[in-house]
Amino acid sequence: MKPARLQNQGFTLIEMMLAVSIGSLMLAATIAASICLQRSFNAVDNYFSSHVQQVRIIDSLSRDVRRSYIVTTSTDLQTVTCIIPNYLVDNGSNQPTRATPALSLVGNKVVANYQASTVNNVTTTQGSTAISCPGLGLVSSHFSNANVGQSVVGTGIPAGTTIQSVSNCPLGSCSQATMSIAATFSNGNATLTIGALTNVVYSVVNQGIQRRENGGLTNIAASADNLIPATSDIELLNTEFTQSTVTFLPRFARGGQSFLDNERAGTTIFSLTYLRNRRRGDG
C-alpha cells in the first residue's frame, strides 16, 4: 500500500500577494464598517438624546404655562416669561406648606389667588408708571400699603414689574399707585393681580435651555444638536394659549442650507397649552 503524500509545499508569491490583498481589503471593509456603525450609533444616540431634551423642554414649559396667570414671549419667541401663583408658603425651613386661596371679585366674577389679590377697574396708561382705581374702596377693589414692593401682573404690564408706592389712601384704601416699569399700552378697565408671585423665565443660553424661577437657575435641557425653542403667546378676549415648537439639527446631517433646514424641520415637535387660570371666573 502506498502511503499518502503530504501536501506541505508553500504558497507561491503570487498566491501570497493575492491572499494579502484580499485580506487587506476585507480588513479595511470591516474597519470601515465598524467606523460607520460607530458613527451611526453616535448619531442615533445623539438624536434620541436631543429628542429627550426636546420633550423635556416642551413638558416643562407646558406645565408652567398651564398653571400661569399670564405668559409673555419675546419678539424672537425664544424667551418665555410665566407668572405663576405662589402656591407654596416659605416658612423658612425645608418644609413649606400649601397656601390657602383668597377670593377677590373681578366684576361679577369671583377669582381665587394664592398670597396675592386682584384689583380691577384699573386705569393704565401707555408709557406711564402711574395706575389708578376709581371711586372708594367700599365700592371696588383698591390698592393697599401692603402692595408696595409686591409684584404686579396684568395685560399690558411688563414682566417683573412691582408696585413702588401707593397714594390717596383714605381709610387705607388707595386709589393710586406707581409701578416700577411703565405700562405698554393704555387700558381703562384693567385687572391686575398683586402679591407674591412666582416669576419663571425660559431662555436660550448657548446650547442649553435655562429656566429661572425667581432668579434661581435650573437647566432644563442641553444638547450639542443646537436645540431651538420657539413659543408664541396668543391672547384672545377670554382665553390665552401658547404654541411652542422645539427643533434641533442632527449632527450627522451634512449638506446645503436647504437640506439642513429640512433636516431641522423634520425634528419639530409641537405643543399647544391653554392657561387654565386665564379663564378663571368666566363661565
Binding site: 470591516t30 438624546s49 406648606t97 367700599l138 434661581g216 387654565r276 363661565g283
Partner: protein, 556 residues
C-alpha cells in the same frame, strides 16, 4: 488503499469572521440598549407622566361634579358614591371629604384620590353663608417597562432638600418627572403636602404621581337678557314689544325716561325705545338686546321682539315671527329652584307694614328683615343717606307670605325682596325711587349734589335704577305647587324678578323696565318690556352654579 489527509488552513478565516460578527454584534447591541433606554424615557416615562396628570384631572372633575350637587337640595354632596370624611389630618378648617377612584386606564394602571374641603370667605368678597371649595386631586400612573430607566437628567442645584425659595432648592425639585421606584418620594419628603405624616410609603410598582389643586367658587347669576323661562312664553301683547336700553350709556340723554320713537322694523306701527333712531347707532345697538330664552318649544309671540330668541326644539322662524335678532331652536337649559335664604339674625317686622331702615353697606352684608307678608305699604328708607362718603344702603327683606300691598324703595337703597307666597300688585305699587347712574345722592328724593355732601362722595355702585329693586320668588317646597306673580296697570315698573318656579303675568298698559327669570311668562295688551343692558354687569346674589376659579399644580 490510499488515504488522503486534508489539512486545510481555513481556521484563521473562521476566527476572523467570528471576531467581526462579535464586534458588529456588540456595536449593534449597544445601539439597541441605548435606543431602548431612550425609548423608555421618551415613551414609558412620558406616558406615565402625562397619564398621571390625566388621572389627577379626572379626580378633580369628579370632585367638581360633587361640588355642583350642592345646588340641588335633594342631592346632598359628599354623602354617597364612595365619598367619606377625610382622615386626619384633614385639610383645615374643614369639613373635608375624600374619595379614591382606582384601576382605570391601561391594565388598571391609573388611580386618583380627590379631597375636597369646604371653605368660607371672611373678607366680604362673597357672603359667609355661601361656601367655596378646594379640590385637591392626586393622580397616580404605574410606570411600565424596565424598573431602572435612565432619567437622563442633567440638573443641579444647591441644597439637598426642597425649600420654597427656588434659588436654594435642592435636587428634589430639579427633576421634571419624579419617579417613585421603591417609595413615594412626596410622602417621604412632604407628607400630606403640609409636612404632616412624613414617612416612607412603599409603592407596589414604579409609579409617577402628580398633584393638582382646584378652587371651585360660586357662580352668581346676572341677567344677560330680557326674559328667561323654563316652561312657556306667551308675549308680548299684540300692541306691546320687547326691547332693551342701556342705563349706563353716557350718551343717553335721559335713560330713566327713554324716548319713544316710531319704528320701521320688524313691523309697521310699532314703537321702540331708541330702536329705530337712525341718527344714533349707539342707541340703536342698545335697543336690540331684549333677548328671550325658553327651555321648551312653547313659544307664542304677539308683538315684536327686539333681540335674539332661543327655544328648545321650537319652530320659531323669522318669516313667522317679528324677531330682529338671531333665532336658535336648539338651546336647552335648566334653572335650579330657589331656596329660601337663611334669615338668622334678621330683624322681624310684625305686620309687614310700615318703614324699614336699611343700613347695610354692600350687597354681601345687607340689613336683614323678615315679615309674614306685605298687604299694606312698606317703605325701605336709606339709613346711610347722611354718610359723607357712602350715602347708599342695602337691604334684604324676606316675606314668608304673599305680597299684595305697596313696596317703596327710596333713592340710594338697593333692596332684595324674597317672598315665598304669591304676588298680585299694580305697577304703581312697586315704587322704585332710584335713578339710573345715580351720582352723589345723599338725601333720598333729591337729585344732584346736596350741600352737605363732601366734594368726593362715591357714585352709586349700582348704576341701574332697575337693579335697585330685586324680587326673588322662593320656590314652593310642596310638589306640584306653582307660584304666581301678577302685575296689572296702572303704573310702570322698575324692578327685576328672579322666580324660577313662578308663572308671571303682565296685563294692561304697563311699561316694564326689568329682567325676568320665571317658570312661564305671559304679557298681553300693550305692555312693553324693556331690558336694561346694565343689568348684565350686576350680579344678583343668587348662586346658580359653581365654577373653577383657580388651577395650580404642586410640582414638588
Amino acid at each position: 488503499m490510499k488515504t488522503r489527509v486534508q489539512q486545510g488552513n481555513s481556521g484563521n478565516t473562521l476566527i476572523c469572521a467570528l471576531c467581526t460578527i462579535v464586534i458588529i454584534s456588540l456595536i449593534g447591541a449597544n445601539v439597541l440598549v441605548n435606543c431602548t433606554r431612550h425609548y423608555n424615557i421618551t415613551a414609558k416615562q412620558l406616558k406615565a407622566w402625562k397619564e398621571a396628570l390625566y388621572a389627577a384631572e379626572a379626580g378633580g372633575e369628579a370632585g367638581f361634579d360633587e361640588v355642583r350637587k350642592a345646588l340641588n337640595p335633594s342631592s346632598l354632596p359628599f354623602t354617597t358614591d364612595g365619598w367619606a370624611a377625610a382622615p386626619s389630618p384633614a385639610p383645615t378648617p374643614g369639613p373635608a371629604w375624600t374619595k379614591t377612584i382606582s384601576s382605570f386606564g391601561q391594565a388598571g394602571s391609573l388611580s386618583t384620590t380627590v379631597t375636597i374641603d369646604k371653605l368660607t370667605d371672611n373678607t366680604g368678597t362673597i357672603p359667609a353663608t355661601t361656601p367655596y371649595y378646594r379640590i385637591r386631586a392626586v393622580g397616580t400612573a404605574r410606570l411600565f417597562g424596565l424598573p431602572r430607566v435612565g432619567l437622563s437628567d442633567q440638573f443641579f442645584a444647591g441644597g439637598p432638600n426642597f425649600v420654597a425659595n427656588s434659588a436654594s432648592r435642592g435636587v428634589g425639585d430639579t427633576l421634571l418627572r419624579k419617579i417613585d421606584f421603591k417609595f413615594d418620594h412626596f410622602k417621604a419628603s412632604y407628607g400630606d403636602g403640609d409636612g404632616n405624616n412624613l414617612g416612607l410609603a412603599p409603592v407596589t410598582y414604579p409609579q409617577i404621581t402628580r398633584r393638582i389643586e382646584l378652587v371651585a367658587v360660586p357662580k352668581y347669576y346676572v341677567f344677560g337678557g330680557a326674559l328667561r323661562v323654563v316652561n312657556a312664553f306667551d308675549g308680548p301683547g299684540t300692541a306691546g314689544f320687547v326691547d332693551s336700553y342701556n342705563s349706563k350709556n353716557p350718551t343717553n340723554p335721559n335713560p330713566s325716561s327713554p324716548k319713544v320713537v316710531n319704528n320701521d322694523i320688524p313691523g309697521p306701527n310699532t314703537t321702540s325705545y331708541y330702536g329705530s333712531n337712525p341718527s344714533n347707532s349707539t342707541y340703536l345697538a342698545d335697543a336690540h338686546d331684549g333677548d328671550v330664552s325658553v327651555a321648551t318649544r312653547n313659544f307664542i309671540e304677539g308683538g315684536p321682539i327686539w333681540g335674539d330668541v332661543t327655544t328648545n326644539s321650537g319652530n320659531v322662524t323669522h318669516s313667522g315671527y317679528q324677531i330682529s335678532g338671531t333665532i336658535d331652536n336648539n338651546v336647552p337649559f335648566t334653572i335650579p329652584p330657589l331656596s329660601a335664604p337663611d334669615t338668622t339674625g334678621f330683624a322681624a317686622t310684625s305686620s309687614g307694614t310700615g318703614t324699614i331702615t336699611a343700613t347695610g353697606t354692600s350687597d354681601s352684608s345687607p340689613s336683614g328683615f323678615v315679615c309674614s307678608g306685605i298687604s299694606g305699604s312698606v317703605t325701605i328708607t336709606n339709613g346711610n343717606a347722611s354718610s359723607p362718603t357712602f350715602p347708599y344702603a342695602y337691604a334684604k327683606v324676606v316675606v314668608n307670605g304673599h305680597i299684595t300691598g305697596k313696596v317703596t324703595v327710596e333713592k340710594g337703597v338697593t333692596a332684595e325682596i324674597w317672598f315665598a307666597g304669591n304676588m298680585k300688585v299694580k305697577g304703581e305699587d312697586l315704587d322704585n325711587q332710584n335713578v339710573d347712574r345715580g351720582t352723589k345722592t345723599a338725601n333720598p328724593g333729591s337729585a344732584g349734589v346736596p350741600p352737605l355732601i363732601p366734594a368726593t362722595p362715591a357714585d352709586d355702585p349700582n348704576p341701574s335704577r332697575v337693579g335697585h329693586m330685586k324680587f326673588f320668588g322662593i320656590s314652593p317646597t310642596v310638589s306640584g305647587t306653582t307660584q304666581t306673580i301678577e302685575v296689572d296697570s296702572p303704573g310702570n315698573i322698575f324692578a327685576t324678578f328672579y322666580a324660577p318656579s313662578a308663572d308671571i303675568a303682565l296685563t294692561g298698559n304697563v311699561d316694564v323696565f326689568s329682567a325676568i327669570i320665571g317658570r312661564s311668562f305671559s304679557g298681553n295688551g300693550n305692555a312693553g318690556f324693556h331690558y336694561d343692558k346694565a343689568l348684565n354687569q350686576v350680579q344678583i346674589g343668587v348662586v346658580t352654579d359653581y365654577q373653577i376659579a383657580s388651577y395650580v399644580e404642586d410640582v414638588r
